[in-house]
Amino acid sequence: MSAYLKLDHIDKVFTRGAATTEVLKDINLTIEKGEYVSIIGHSGCGKSTLLNIIAGLTGATTGGVLLENREVNSPGPDRAVVFQNHSLLPWLTVYENVRLGVDKVFARTKSRAERDAWVMHNLNLVQMAHARDKRPSEISGGMKQRVGIARALAMEPKVLLLDEPFGALDALTRAHLQDSVMALHQKLGNTILMITHDVDEAVLLSDRIVMMTNGPSARIGEVLEVPLARPRKRLELATNTTYLKCRQRVLEFLYERHRFVEAA
């Protein structure tokens, strides 16, 4: 079976002077096209490092990442990232922030007018077209994250990487944005890899949940399938036994078997 995205025996060792810390050990994972996979684990287990390796922002010490059977080891728009703290450029407007990526990715394939239309199309997808001329400082945290998602989507990535995309948002905004991401995934069929530390979020959104053991030398502890039909409705799932079972399973993994050891 040839996987769409394949993480092949990834190790990551950080070296500072004489001290070396093994952060990730032997990470193997395959992701199918159109799949929504979450990686969950306690803070400090190296999930963000793993995402950075996939994005090409950090190199793996050994092992590698294969996208459509080709090794990728430098950053590129085929693995667009939605950063945790939105990372919009404050001197550009909402429109210009999305346009920056679009101009680069579609420099040859789309005309000026087509690129403009494509930017607006993606802003419409995240319902942010009304704020096109605002600067990031003038819109709310949830809106910034929407623009961040639009920027990533507009690059037409093969894999969309979400780095705790809802972490900095309040609960209500987060729920709203989760629904939006679910709807987008349903509509566009993107392959999505999301880092999270929120159990409900992982179960609600994912097809599979990858649970990581605590670092140092974090491994993949368990992979859980979430056999819930889509589209999923937040309110209906609250009493769904499959949902509750999955949730229970993740909670057990995180809080019983791999309890976070303070100051370890």
């Binding site: 922002l57 950053p75 728009p77 693995r79 990232v81 450029l89 404050p90 001197w91 990526g101 680069k104």
Partner: protein, 298 residues
Amino acid sequence: MNMPATKIEVETATPAAAAAPVVALTPKRPPRAETYARMARETAVRVIPPLVVIALLTLVWELVCRRAGSALPPPSKVFADTKELIFDPFFDHGGIDKGLFWHLSASLQRVAFGYSLSAIAGIALGVLVGQSVWAMRGLDPLFQVLRTIPPLAWLPLSLAAFRDGQPSAIFVIFITSIWPIIINTAVGIRNIPQDYRNVAAVVQLNPLEFFAKIMIPAAAPYIFTGLRIGIGLSWLAIVAAEMLIGGVGIGFFIWDAWNSSHISEIILALFYVGIVGFVLDRLIAGLGKFVTRGTAQN
């Protein structure tokens, strides 16, 4: 739950609408008068204190220097002596016997030239030092030593090298104002958040695009801090340098006035030097504010 709430809204809305035309005329006028009054008050608060202080200082100066045999002229005498210079800044009797406008514009031209060079070279070197660890290790100690050399100490060396006053003065401006520009630019570049670099990496900006679209805007607040310090220093340096190189220029005008014992003219020139320096500083500050709007906050 919903019904009573809507009812209340309707009830309150009607009387307000009915009452509106009655009050409409009266409340409209007071606010306008009030805004004028407030504006006047705000202006007064900012303008009156310095005026009072200036008036008091002038009075003290007048009283102190009025006595016969005092070394410096009182303000009344300064005004009387320099009336011609104040009211006719554009005369030109050839040589260095020109109006103050010509002296100031000659100085400003030198500053404009030297400062532009130092802005370009300073930002370029700052980017290099900020971006490359090796460039920083190699160059930073050198900068730290060179920047402590007083502007005038460079003048003999540059006269020896250029054998002419004009390029030497420009070189002194350049070498004086470049250090804060380099150092602040380098700090700004070093402080570009990793997030922005990651964004650039994912979008795959090439180095030139990264420079124009990420580096310069992100570091702009720092760069303008350096540029602002730089313009102040270059104005400080030009007056001193011109005293030594001679020719047309406000610095030599002051030196010439001293040699001819025209103390009043010195005082007038100092006043102009201060005002021009202030305007230059405001100019760069305003430009910085305009360019970096939106960059300052997150």
